[in-house]
Symmetry: C2
Subunit: 249 residues, 2 copies
C-alpha cells in the first residue's frame, strides 16, 4: 500500500518479445527504461543486473513476452519521495501471442484523448489510464487497434503502438513532442528506413494527413509492423514501403 | 504484477481524516470515489460495505489518516480490461500528522505542469506522477506547499491541496475544467462561504490573479484550511474571510 507504483503510478515499464530464446532489442528497451528513470528522478537500475535477471527468467523458455516494472520504491510521505529510496523491480514472463506478424489490420478512431505534457512524453511510465480507457472503447475483435489524438487534435499513436504513414514517398511519424511513447520498434523502423535511403519526417501529424496518406502502418515491439488496410470507410492496400520495412525488420 | 493499479495506475484513491474516532466527511469521500469509478468504467464498490470496513479498520483508534485504494482489479490483456473484472480494495490507517491546523504557510511555484484532459480531471485517480515530481522539486521544510499551473499557464491547485483567493471581496477558486482534483474540503469551503452570504466564483485563474489577491489559502481534507502568507517576495496577512472560513470549518 505504500508501494509508489501502486499509489501513484510512480514508475516505468517495458514489454519485450522473447523470440527463439532471445530477448529482442533488449538493449534498446533497457536504455529507454534508464532514460525514463532519469527523467522521473528514480535511481536507474543496474543494467547488467537486469540483464542477468532476464536471462534467469527466460532460461527455460523459447518464446513469450517479458514484462518489467521499475518503480521509485515503497514509502515516502504522500506524494513526496523519501531522500534515498530503493526502487522496486518486478519481472514476469507471459505466454507468446498467437502469431500475428505481418497480417494487415483494421483500425478505428478512439474518442479518448491524450493529455499534453512535455515533461512526461516519450517515456513508458506507469500513468496509463488514457490507454486503458481507449482500449475499453471497443470490443469488436476485427478492429485490431485504435488511433489516438491528443487534446489539440494531433494524431499521436495507436493505443499500444506507434503509427507511420507514407505521403509523397516520405515516411512520416508523429514527433511526440507533447505526448506518446517513443517505441523501440518505432526507432528501429526509422533507422531501417534511413538505411534504405528513404526520407523520414518526424513532425506534427493531423487526421487529414492520415486519410490522405498512401500507406499506413503501426509498430510495436510485441506485434511488429502491421499494415493498416482499413479505417472507417477508408481502405488502403499494403504498400511497397511497408512491405520493404516489414521484410527488413 | 497483473494488478492494474500497479501496471497502469488504473484506479482511484481517497485520503480521509480520522479525528476523535470519526472519519471526517466520509460520505463525501465515498461519493467522489463512486463518481471516479463511474468515470473510469470501474464497477463502483458497495458503499455500505466500504463504510463497514472503515469502521473495522478504525475501531481501536481515535486519530489518524485513512487511505483507501480501489482499482479495476487484476488481469485483462495489456491495457484492455477483461469483461467482468472484480475491483481490488485496499485500506490502510496511517498515524496522524503533527497538528498543523490553522497555521499560516509559505508556498512556492512548481516548475512541473499539469496536463489538461477533461476526461480525467476532477477525480482522484492513481495517475499522479505530476504531483510526485512537483513535490520532489523542493525540500526546504519552511515551504509547506507548491502551486501548480497547467500546461497553458492557468493556476490549478497546490501539489496536495486546492487553492482559493479573495479578489474584491469575492471568493475565487480554479474551476478545474481541464485538470486538478475536486477536493472534499474545497467543496465544503464553497458551501460554507455561500451559507455565509459570500459571492463565490469558480473560474479560470492565472498567476496574476493570485499575486493581486487580498487573501490566499489552500484546502485539504487532511490539513484543513491553511492561510498562505508568503509566495516568493509577495506577503499576505491572514485575512478576515480566511479566518471566518477556518472558524466555520
Amino acid at each position: 500500500m505504500t508501494e509508489r507504483g501502486l499509489s501513484f503510478g510512480d514508475g516505468l515499464f517495458e514489454t519485450m518479445l522473447l523470440r527463439d530464446g532471445v530477448a529482442v532489442s533488449v538493449d534498446r528497451h533497457l536504455l529507454r527504461l534508464e532514460i525514463g528513470c532519469l527523467r522521473l528522478g528514480i535511481k536507474p537500475p543496474n543494467i547488467p543486473l537486469l540483464r542477468g535477471e532476464i536471462d534467469l527468467l527466460t532460461r527455460d523458455h523459447r518464446n513469450g513476452i517479458i514484462k518489467l516494472i521499475v518503480t521509485r520504491g515503497a514509502g515516502g510521505r504522500g506524494y513526496r519521495p523519501a531522500a534515498d529510496m530503493t526502487p522496486t523491480r518486478l519481472m514476469m514472463l507471459f505466454p507468446p501471442l498467437n502469431a500475428v506478424d505481418g497480417k494487415p489490420i483494421e483500425v478505428r478512431w478512439c474518442a479518448t484523448r491524450l493529455a499534453r505534457n512535455a515533461q512526461l512524453c516519450g517515456i513508458k511510465h506507469l500513468n496509463r489510464i488514457e490507454q486503458v480507457l481507449a482500449q475499453n472503447e471497443w470490443d469488436d475483435e476485427r478492429i485490431a487497434e485504435g488511433l489516438m489524438l491528443d487534446t489539440e487534435g494531433e494524431l499521436i499513436c495507436a493505443t499500444a503502438a506507434n503509427v507511420f504513414l507514407v505521403a509523397d514517398g516520405v515516411l512520416v511519424t508523429p514527433d511526440l513532442r507533447f505526448s506518446g511513447i517513443r517505441g523501440v520498434m518505432r526507432e528501429r523502423v526509422i533507422e531501417s528506413a534511413l538505411r534504405a535511403g528513404l526520407a523520414v519526417e518526424e513532425r506534427a501529424v493531423w487526421p487529414d494527413d492520415l486519410t490522405e496518406a498512401t500507406e499506413v502502418f503501426v509498430t510495436s515491439a510485441i506485434r511488429g509492423i502491421r499494415s493498416v488496410v482499413a479505417l472507417q470507410e477508408r481502405r488502403w492496400s499494403v504498400g511497397h514501403i511497408t512491405q520493404m520495412l516489414i521484410a527488413a525488420a
